[in-house]
């Protein structure tokens, strides 16, 4: 009887651990810099990579605690964490305990790093000097800018339905590659600075992009053609876009100087959603798949804010006087 109880306990423990793992939701926050000098550097990191597993309530530093210009971090489907930094592309395979700079001196000013959902060894890095690609999990990198007139790229988006299709945000519009980055073709917004591209979680053909000074654009044909969707947004600088995981037409954008805007009609109209947001310069946004009422906004002066009512009101959470440059979320619930 005792043995049965022990076996039962073990089975329950294993089951609960598997459930917990299956429902794991981790938010990654990249703090680029802090305006408040560290009074006691031994107390803990003030910038770099921070991780939360409780919807942003608490955060733990996971990357280098020193300043290396951490722009963005993302977890691949195999659990590898990638970090886009001034020092290059960093990789951790042990949940952020140890890191390896996977790139050499040729790769610097890395603004984004994006991992293919279906193939975690396929990773693209957007940098000030062009787009770089690894197909072996960061062991080797190659510059991939064929067909681009200039190299600067602020973001890439790997099509989850077809990872050979990559969209790139560049200083001169949006580029599309249909052969995993070998060759690129300009696909609109010529001459406009594009900073961010995201794929719609509901419709793999639909992509959204944000520009330096011309609001938001949408493509419904896989990035081939783009339409401006900025009524109410005008020509705002849009640095981040987050899509609601359940409501097909709900989109959030973060702007420079105008706070957060939301559209509930697929981009047809935009309304400001900045109540309580004491810093209107929003550089990063995520909507949590586990509870889409929870939206996190990273700002350029006052750290991280959270809304628990879908952007209706915001409360300051943490890292005041810091630049929250990047936010990303890895959630098994989203799959």
């Amino acid at each position: 009887m005792l043995n049965v109880r022990v076996y039962l306990c073990v089975a329950l423990f294993v089951l609960s651990a598997e459930i917990a793992a299956a429902q794991r939701e981790t938010v990654y926050m990249a703090i680029l810099s802090s305006f408040r000098p560290a009074q006691n550097p031994d107390a803990g990191p003030a910038l770099g990579l921070f991780v939360s597993t409780d919807r942003g309530s608490t955060w733990q530093g996971r990357g280098w605690r020193e300043y290396i210009r951490t722009f963005y971090c993302e977890e691949g489907s195999d659990g590898t964490i990638w970090s886009a930094c001034g020092n290059g592309v960093l990789r951790s395979t042990d949940n952020g305990r140890r890191w390896r700079v996977t790139t050499g001196w040729e790769v610097t000013e890395v603004l984004k790093v994006k991992v293919a959902e279906s193939d975690p060894s396929l990773v693209f890095a957007s940098t000030a000097y062009g787009i770089f690609r690894t197909t072996d999990g960061g062991e080797t990198w190659e510059k991939k800018t064929g067909g681009m007139r200039r190299g600067f790229s602020g973001d890439v988006c790997i099509d989850r339905a077809d990872p050979s299709r990559i969209l790139a945000a560049t200083e001169e519009g949006v580029y599309l590659s249909e052969d995993r980055g070998e060759q690129w073709t300009e696909r609109g917004l010529a001459g406009k600075g594009v900073r961010v591209i995201v794929q719609d979680p509901h419709d793999a053909k639909r992509f959204w992009l944000g520009t330096e000074e011309d609001g938001v654009y949408c493509s419904s044909d896989g990035g081939r053609h783009w339409e401006r969707e900025s009524r109410g947004l005008d020509r705002s600088a849009v640095y981040t876009i987050a899509l609601h995981p359940r409501n097909h037409d709900w989109i959030y954008v973060g702007t420079y100087g105008r706070g957060v805007f939301q559209s509930t009609d697929g981009g047809g109209h935009w309304e400001e959603r900045s109540r309580g947001l004491t810093d209107r310069e929003v550089h990063s946004l995520v909507v949590l798949p586990s509870d889409p009422r929870v939206v996190l906004a990273g700002t350029l002066h006052r750290g991280l804010f959270r809304s628990t009512d879908g952007g209706g009101t915001w409360v300051h959470l943490t890292h005041d006087s810091s630049q929250v440059w990047g936010l990303s979320v890895r959630s098994t619930l989203s799959r």
């Binding site: 210009r69 390896r100 000013e109 330096e212």
Partner: protein, 592 residues
């Protein structure tokens, strides 16, 4: 007893640094510098000075330990200096400090930086650290890369930088602030690189950096155009860090001028020159002569490169054309104008020998734009201006003294310079400013339109093309003109007496720049005292005595003391019939 023995060893080791030194004047300045540094507030360079001077060694050991434990002790500036102190004094450091230094490279994230000087420091530090601790796996390094990977990466970039610098020039060229932090890493490589080829290249880079400075050095002042400079250093040239370099290597100024409150350095604690005091590298005598012999006037031209243009440009490193006219009394130098560097550019000046501070005159269009910053930095345009203003304080100020303006162009021939401005309507700061120090012996506005100034033995005539006003400030008069299409003509002469100066003024009154219909043509023509006729059109040709000057033909170095072709990697230094060839292609020095 053991402690006593340890510190005795420390003293002997410190003293032995100089046992084999040759050049007595240079060596005595090296010693003097270490003596000074040993009394400075503690920083890594001061610590090196204290170790070397053998002053308060227990305190120095404790301070090194304390600095090493401070987690703020990171980044390119610290990494190379840390390994520098360690390699220089490791034989006398206690085991605990050996472990501490090793641990820093194991566990502390060292930032590579985002400028050329950061990278030179960072990769020098990594090169020497990887050489010091070879055959170790990635787990023993902060960046997860093995000793061999770190070494190869550092060596690869340093070679890349040396090649760039010796074929198309530095991006952060001729900076009175940052030149010492290019020199210091090369000194460390010269002293400590195990690879003879790297040691030789480092020695050659030391020669080149010093010679490059020497040709534009006038009694410790770095004259002419600069890539990166800070306003206090621009308006008072002898407070710049390069003045200490000139003092140590060239013996000019002869005194430790930074002790004079009027020449208090902007950052007194920046003592990177300590590595020059500790190094076995001694400047070739030829370079000292190049830096100090001003017996004959000369023109020196050179080509540099723009810092990496990452946006809004098709060329990563467009050329910079630099022109310098040097005499024993003054130096007049200029860059061709335009945006060549982000926010800290100094396009032109006339700097004169004087016993008074603020011995320089120049003009500037105080431009700023997010687009300019976006050319060089990756962040979003809106963010950039805000950030740079935060860190560099003056970027958006209408009164700033450093600026890269897209609306400024120059044309220089010998002692004459024409500067034109074509400020776009709607530009944020639509005025130009001129710096005229109150320390000038004379400054008069003549009825002919010329402004005549005397500073030391330099007579400076400036003809503003458009009306202006004077604004009195603490150290200077500010010439401000609000006309968008604007410019000035500058002619400089040497005078030995009041009579000479009066004669200079009389002569200048006979000349007047031709600028008829300037607002439409943006063309100025001027005949100098020497009889040269210069005609310059904004965005148009620079014509000297009827012949168009083609800046694109500017050689890499072109003057009596330095000669090189763009892309050759072979640079000749010349003085007194002797030639020293720095052949970076073959990695060797040839003396003829």
């Amino acid at each position: 007893m053991k402690t006593l023995f340890f510190f005795l060893l420390l003293l002997i080791a410190a003293d032995s640094l100089y046992a084999t030194s040759g050049d007595s004047a240079f060596v005595s300045r090296q010693r003097r510098l270490l003596e000074i540094l040993s009394r400075e507030p503690l920083s890594l360079p001061a610590l090196a000075g204290r170790f070397a001077a053998g002053r308060d060694l227990p305190g120095a050991v404790a301070a090194f330990d304390s600095m090493g434990r401070d987690r703020r002790f990171v980044g390119a500036f610290h990494g190379y200096a840390l390994i520098g102190v360690y390699l220089r004094f490791r034989s006398i450091l206690p085991d605990s400090l050996h472990r501490m230094v090793r641990e820093i490279f194991r566990s502390r994230g060292l930032y590579r930086g985002d400028t050329e000087n950061h990278w030179v420091m960072y990769y020098t530090g990594m090169y020497l650290a990887a050489q010091t601790w070879p055959h170790e796996s990635g787990t023993e390094w902060f960046n997860g890369r093995s000793s061999e990977e770190n070494f190869r990466e550092a060596e690869g970039w340093l070679n890349h930088w040396i090649t760039l610098s010796t074929t198309i020039g530095q991006g952060e060229f001729d900076s009175p602030t940052y030149m010492p932090v290019f020199l210091a890493p090369m000194l460390l490589l010269f002293d400590f690189a195990a690879d003879p080829a790297m040691r030789t290249k480092a020695q050659m880079m030391c020669d080149l950096l010093l010679a490059d400075f020497a040709v534009e050095n006038l009694r410790g002042c770095y004259g002419g155009g600069h890539s990166r400079d800070y306003p206090p250093d621009i308006i008072n040239p002898l407070i710049a860090q390069t003045t200490r370099v000139s003092w140590l290597y060239f013996g000019e100024p002869a005194t430790e001028i930074w002790e004079n409150p009027e020449y208090e350095p902007r950052v007194r604690s920046s003592w990177e020159i300590v590595w020059g005091a500790l190094s076995g590298y001694h400047p070739p005598e030829m370079i000292v002569h190049i830096a100090t012999d001003r017996s004959l006037p000369y023109v020196h031209r050179e080509r540099k490169r723009v810092r990496n243009v990452i946006r809004f440009g098709d060329e990563l490193n467009p050329p910079v054309y630099k022109y310098t006219y040097m005499t024993e009394d003054y130096v007049l130098g200029s860059l061709q104008g335009g945006i060549l560097q982000p926010f800290q550019q100094h396009t032109w000046d006339v700097t004169y020998v004087s016993t008074r501070p603020y011995n320089t005159i120049f003009t500037v269009h105080p431009s700023w734009s997010s687009r300019e910053l976006g050319m060089f930095f990756p962040e979003e345009l809106n963010v950039l201006a805000e950030d740079v203003d935060r860190y560099k304080l003056v970027y958006t100020s209408p009164d700033k003294w450093n600026s890269s303006s897209p609306y400024e162009q120059t044309f220089q021939h010998n002692n004459v310079l024409i500067v034109l401005y074509n400020i776009a309507p709607g530009a944020k700061l639509p005025h130009i400013d001129g710096f005229f120090p109150k320390t000038l012996e004379q400054r008069t506005v003549d009825s002919t339109g010329w402004i005549f100034c005397r500073g030391g033995n330099a007579a400076i005539a400036i003809f503003p093309l458009k009306p202006y006003e004077w604004i009195e400030e603490e150290k200077n008069w500010r010439l401000r003109s609000h006309h968008l299409r604007n410019g000035l003509v500058v002619e400089v002469g040497s005078v030995r007496s009041t009579g000479d100066y009066a004669q200079f003024i009389r002569t200048m009154r006979q000349r007047r720049p031709e600028a008829g219909d300037f607002d439409r043509t943006m063309t100025v023509s001027y005949a100098s005292i020497a009889g040269d006729v210069m005609t310059f059109t904004y965005d148009g040709p620079r014509i000297l005595n009827g012949t168009a000057v083609d800046l694109t033909k500017t050689r890499f170095y072109d003057g009596p003391f330095m000669s090189s072709e763009v892309g050759s990697g072979v640079i000749e230094l010349r003085y007194g019939g002797r030639v020293r060839v720095l052949d970076f292609q073959q990695g060797k020095v040839i003396e003829r």
